[in-house]
Assembly symmetry: C2
Homo-oligomer: 165 residues x 2
């Protein structure tokens, strides 16, 4: 199973591709960050869609994993995040990919052993577990982490049946 | 100039098409509501994109007008609204349509003469001004109102140069 993890943002969107064969084998395939530039929001969203479509086309994921947003700093930042997240979910639906979302604490626990792990701990744990030559960039690490969560038994036990928000 | 007004929502998205010829002539072309059903959010967003694409293809608008979201009840509702709004902006960018956003009070003032007009006052004013046989459905009325705002001098005076959020 090929898992595409996405960490949507209206400026930077992280992505990560993992291959999972059974609960014990997870292989890092690729990761990166889509820089959407400083243009108007509609143009950035179009760039995001086109970039995600290219990633889907190149790696042929079977599922998409995203962090569930259960809290947000404020309504304004939630709204802007929602724009990018909506495009990511749209690309999944366009390609008939099921979307799974996981709580941030669940993701951190799956990769770093604690739901309260700091960002650098998640990045370090990912580097070790996935055998990365260096820590992934922060947004790409978030995307790899949610993909890893989907691959791991810990998250699969409490799988959410798609996004129903 | 053909204006597509959109009132995005993750369950119901209103739309309205107006034709504006100069500041004094605005003609109602069509309006409606896209019902996105009760499926998973990604599927609803895909339906929204496809429906908006059909509307763009059918009416050939020159611009898209949306309400600017300057307040939101809470972060959760802002996030969900953002998903649908992101898809609307994306469709605009895909079709090379400029997007203009207007403050809710500005829209109400343009159509009903007061920035604090109630929803039914906006609906009634729209019916009178556009010569509709009956009041538009609430979401469609919001879409027609923002399109009318774009058509009117009142809003064009303080035009926002695209969405830069």
């Amino acid at each position: 199973m090929i898992i595409l993890g996405v960490d949507p943002g209206s400026r930077l969107t992280g992505w990560g591709i993992l291959e999972a064969r059974g609960p014990a084998f997870t292989r890092h395939v690729d990761n990166g960050v889509i820089a959407l530039g400083n243009g108007a929001l509609p143009a950035r969203l179009l760039k995001l869609m086109n970039s995600l479509e290219m990633i889907v086309s190149k790696y042929g994921p079977n599922v998409v994993a995203v962090e569930g947003v259960f809290t947000a700093k404020n309504a304004r930042s939630a709204l802007v995040l929602g724009h990018a997240r909506g495009v990511a979910l749209l690309v999944a639906a366009k390609n008939s990919l099921d979307v799974f979302e996981y709580a941030p604490a669940k993701i951190k626990k799956a990769i770093a052993g604690s739901g309260r792990a700091e960002k650098f701990q998640v990045q370090t744990a990912l580097q070790l577990v996935l055998g990365l030559p260096e820590p992934a960039q922060a947004d790409a690490a978030d995307a790899l982490a949610v993909a890893f969560c989907h691959a791991s038994n810990m998250c699969r036990e409490k799988i959410l049946k798609g996004v129903s928000t």
